[in-house]
Each structure stands twice: as structure tokens, then as C-alpha cells.
């Protein structure tokens, strides 16, 4: 039960993956997230499954809870390891001004850029991953958010109106660029950011 103090506190997975995660999340936040990952992993499997995330009360009552959980398990995978966990959460890191100034244009875009935040939101709508939000998909998300409180007709008119307003090339669906354009005035950085206190 007893170990000498200071015996290698930083877990191995953090030591190995900093190059993959370092630009996305600071070291201190990484440690916090790792402890959180371990806390969510009740039976110490080393990975998270859907059920582990569903047990979070505040997430289970969120109308979009299931969609959010889906975003952690892309392509039908069943196990979420720690780098994957961080990759999704890294999108919500607040955007610092210095990032844009010093960025080398040849490097891939950081995970928490405005575009990537928008992509995350887009994926919550676009279930079949075809790059477009159809009227049907819009209806589905609306239904999730309102439950049984609103009638089908009302929901359909809302969906129709929204698709019409955003759709520019008239194909009856909202592509990612149209989505981004309709939100260009919105302060995405502030709405889709979670600041981890040190």
C-alpha cells in the first residue's frame, strides 16, 4: 500500500504523447484532464466507453448529450483512449491572440481554431457525415433540443426557415461553408471555449 513519495508522478502516457497533444493543451491542464479521465474510468479499464460518459449526470440531462458523446467515438469505435479524449477537448481551448501571430502557415491548423470549433458544431448536426445538413438532420437536432414540447408543424417551419436562410446555392441543404458564413459575425471563440483554471 505504501510507496515512497515522488516516485514518478507523471504517468507514462503523458510523457509519450506530449508531442501529439502539446500544442493543443498546456502541461498543467493535461495533468488535470488525465486525472479526470482516470476518475471517469470507474473500473480502471484504461479507456472510456459510452456508458462511462453517460453516467455523468449533467451530461445525461443535456438535450444534445448523446450527440456530444458520439463526437468522442468517431467511425463507430467503442473505446476512447486518453489522446482521443484530449483531442476532442482541445477544440474547446480558448483562442489566445498570440497563437495566430506566430503560427507557421505550413503547420496544420491548431485544434482550437475558429474553423475547427465550427466543424465540431457542424458535426453535431451532420449525422451521416456527408458534409451537408439536410432538412431532415436539422429537424432531428431540433427535436432533441425541444423534446415533446413543440408540435411537428412548428418544428418543420422552423427548420425550413433556417435552411432557407443559410442555403445560398439552393440545394436545400446547408454545407459547411454556408454554415460558417451564416455565423461569421458570431463570437465563436467565446461561446465554444472552456478555460481550465490553473
Amino acid at each position: 500500500m505504501e510507496r515512497a513519495p515522488g516516485s514518478g508522478r507523471v504517468p507514462r502516457v503523458l510523457a509519450e504523447s506530449p508531442s501529439a497533444c502539446a500544442p493543443a493543451v498546456s502541461q498543467a491542464s493535461l495533468l488535470r484532464l488525465y486525472h479526470r479521465f482516470r476518475a471517469l474510468d470507474w473500473n480502471e479499464k484504461g479507456y472510456l466507453s459510452r456508458v462511462d460518459l453517460q453516467q455523468i449526470g449533467a451530461l445525461a440531462v443535456n438535450p444534445l448529450g448523446d450527440r456530444i458523446i458520439d463526437s468522442f467515438f468517431p467511425d463507430g469505435s467503442l473505446h476512447l483512449d486518453f489522446p482521443g479524449f484530449v483531442r476532442v477537448l482541445a477544440r474547446f481551448r480558448p483562442v489566445d491572440d498570440e497563437d495566430n501571430g506566430n503560427r507557421d502557415p505550413k503547420e496544420p491548423e491548431p485544434l482550437n481554431s475558429r474553423m475547427n470549433k465550427l466543424r465540431f458544431a457542424f458535426q453535431l448536426y451532420d449525422l451521416d457525415r456527408d458534409g451537408k445538413i439536410s432538412r431532415q438532420e436539422m429537424l432531428q437536432v431540433l427535436r432533441l433540443m425541444v423534446g415533446v414540447q413543440v408540435t411537428e408543424e412548428q418544428l418543420e417551419s422552423i427548420a425550413d426557415r433556417t435552411v432557407q436562410e443559410a442555403d445560398e446555392d439552393g440545394d436545400g441543404a446547408v454545407s459547411f461553408l454556408e454554415f460558417a458564413k451564416s455565423l461569421e459575425k458570431m463570437n465563436i471563440e467565446q461561446k465554444m471555449s472552456i478555460r481550465i483554471l490553473k
Binding site: 449533467a58 438535450p63 414540447q149 458570431m186 461561446k191 481550465i196
Partner: protein, 438 residues
Amino acid sequence: MDGAELAGKIVYTWLTLVLGFILLPSAFGVSLGISELYMKILVKTLEWATLRIEKGVSKESVLKNSASVGIIQRDESPMEKGLSGLRGRDFELSDVFYFSKKGLEAIVEDEVTQRFSSEELVSWNLLTRTNVNFQYISPKLTMVWVLGVIVRYCVLLPLRVTLAFIGISFLVIGTTLVGQLPESSLKNRLSELVHLTCCRICVRALSGTIHYHNKQYRPQKGGICVANHTSPIDVLILTTDGCYAMVGQVHGGLMGIIQRAMVKACPHVWFERSEMKDRHLVTERLREHIADKKKLPILIFPEGTCINNTSVMMFKKGSFEIGGTIYPVAIKYNPQFGDAFWNSSKYNMVSYLLRVMTSWAIVCDVWYMPPMTREEGEDAVQFANRVKSAIAIQGGLTELPWDGGLKRAKVKDTYKEEQQKNYSKMLVGNGSLNSELD
């Protein structure tokens, strides 16, 4: 021959010491001040250790934030403000941002999951199990730590195990003997004496230091005592200062033997597993019990499960439907000396007891509070919440509306419907679609 004689002599002196210094004073409720001395030395050592650690890490940045502060910056504005977009109240593509941000925040940190792991300490108390962020500092500190390990495992642990053994055997034998007597006030007094003595011995077995506040509000006969739940030790702590009738399920094994013995001496309320499901039956039996003013107050933990002593979760309304006077009690442990929280999904009873017996001590405060009764026009749920707030305020704990059973079961859909209702009201209630309804 010599070896056996020597061993015999050691055991003999050991037992005499234990008897003289611990058992007899417990029987008479007298304290010899040994625990106080031990605590003073312990506090001085921990203070010294804290200073050393602080000197050592002043250069690096350390994640020493206590968990109750919260690790993310939260924007607690209501749904309407969070959803305000470019156009006002109608639906927009960006509404989904609000929910996804809230969802991700819940994944990073939620109020409930953190309540089921032990509280993080602000400064280390020389136990490896609480060592979350503390690095190697100096050889002196390590030496003190090694000394601590030796003291805890080789001196304290055998002593405590002996005491626990003696305490439990005395309880079983004592209550069985008292149970043979006919019903009389003598029997009640003897049973009280036996219970109190054994509880005191068991508390000493844990090196417990308990401060009772407001003893004038101690629960009276015919009432119901309600407290927040952190571990099975809560029962021990409360019964050291008064006798209660316990409520619970009949267990097998050692617990079952103790339960059967105890019920011979004074009327506790034990239910079979099948009876527990029938809420009506349970309420009836408890009502019968408190109607008899000569019976001891019932002890109930309405949370239904062990929480880590930083917060109070939803009180189940069942105990508050019985009627009668409720005597709330707040119990707050000091985590610096030992963690009393029983994480039942991580440790079983035996490893939990071992952990407790190899900590420094169990230090806690117990506050008795003025009795409360249900007011006119208040239903059981509101009454339960009122009592819960009172206990949370007194004990300095946060109050949470969640059900402690969440760690085992899925959350009810009614909570999700609340959020959906709020959002729909925004969309349809005030928006331009109103005209289409008529």
C-alpha cells in the same frame, strides 16, 4: 521453553496495559489524555512537514488548488443569456453551441462524480494514499515519512485491531447477556452501558477524536435522528454520545451476528431484504417505533449512500413522511488526519477498515441542531430539502440537488425534460410562432 514464556509474558503485559489504560476508562467514560497527547504531537509533525513542502516547491508551479474551487471557469448565466445570438429569440444554427459547451464542461468537471472520490488535500499529510501532486522534497521528509509508516503499521495497527476485536466481542457477549434479563429499567440502563462502552472502545480503536457541539439538542426518545452519510463509522460516532435505534437491512456473516445480538438488548429495527422493497411496510414499522415514547430515537441516513463529506446530496423523502420530530445532525470529518470516506465501488469493507486503521486518526465535529417538524402545507420533499439545507449550512458543506444513487443508476428523464421545456419556451413561447398557434 524460554521463547514461549517470553512471548507469553509480552502478551500478558500488553493485555494488562490495554485493559488498564483503555478499557477501564472507556467503561467509566473517563479520558486519560493519551489521545490528546498523541494528537498534539501529530499536529506539530504535520505542520513541520507542511512548512518543508512549501519551502521546497516555492519555485515550481504546483497544482495545489483544492478540488472545491473548481478547475474550469464557469459562466453561470441562465439559458436565455447564453443562447442570445445575432437575431434574438428565434432558433438559430448557433443555439447548439450553448448545449455543446455545457456538455463538454460537464465532461471536464461535474458536481457529482467528484463527490465520490476522496477529497483532495491542500497540503500533504504524510500518507501515500493522499499524495496526488507532491513531489520528492528532501531526505528529512522521507525519513519522517518512513518513521510514520513504521509507527502506523507496527504500533498503531496491532493496537487498533486488538481493541476492535475486544470491542466487538464485548458488544456481542454483553448484549446477549443483557438480553436474558426481563424487561425493566435496569435492563435498559445496562444495555445503554454496554452499548456506550463498546462504542467508546471501538472509537479508540480508530484513534477517533470527536467534538460534540450543542449537546442540549441531542435527539430525544421518540424522535428521528437524521445525518449526512460519509461512512459506516458515522454510526459509531453518533452512538458514542447517545443510544439510538438503528434501521437497516439484515446482513449475513459478522454483521448479522452483531445485529442479532444487539436487538436482544434493545429494540432496533432490522428489515429483511424483501421487506425493504415495500415502502409502506417500512413506514408503518417506523411509525410504530416512534409512537412508543419510551423507545430510543431512530437513526436514519436519508442520502442512502456514502458521499465524500464535501457536500450533501438529495435526501430521500421516505424518512420525512413518517411524521414525528426530526433531529438533524451534521457530521464533518477533518481530512487532514485520515480519510473516512468509504468508496464502496473501489474498496470492500475489510480493505476500507484497514485503510482507516492505518491512518493517523479520525477527527470529526458533530453538531446537534434544534429539532424540526413538518410545517403546514409543506410536503415531504420540501421538508427534506429544508432539513438538508440546515445540515449543509451547519457543517460547511455544499448542497447538491442530485441523487446519490446516480453513481449506480441512470439519471431520470424528468431532468432532461426540464431543460427541453426551458428551451422550447424560448423558441415558441415568446417568438414569432405564437400567432400560428391560434
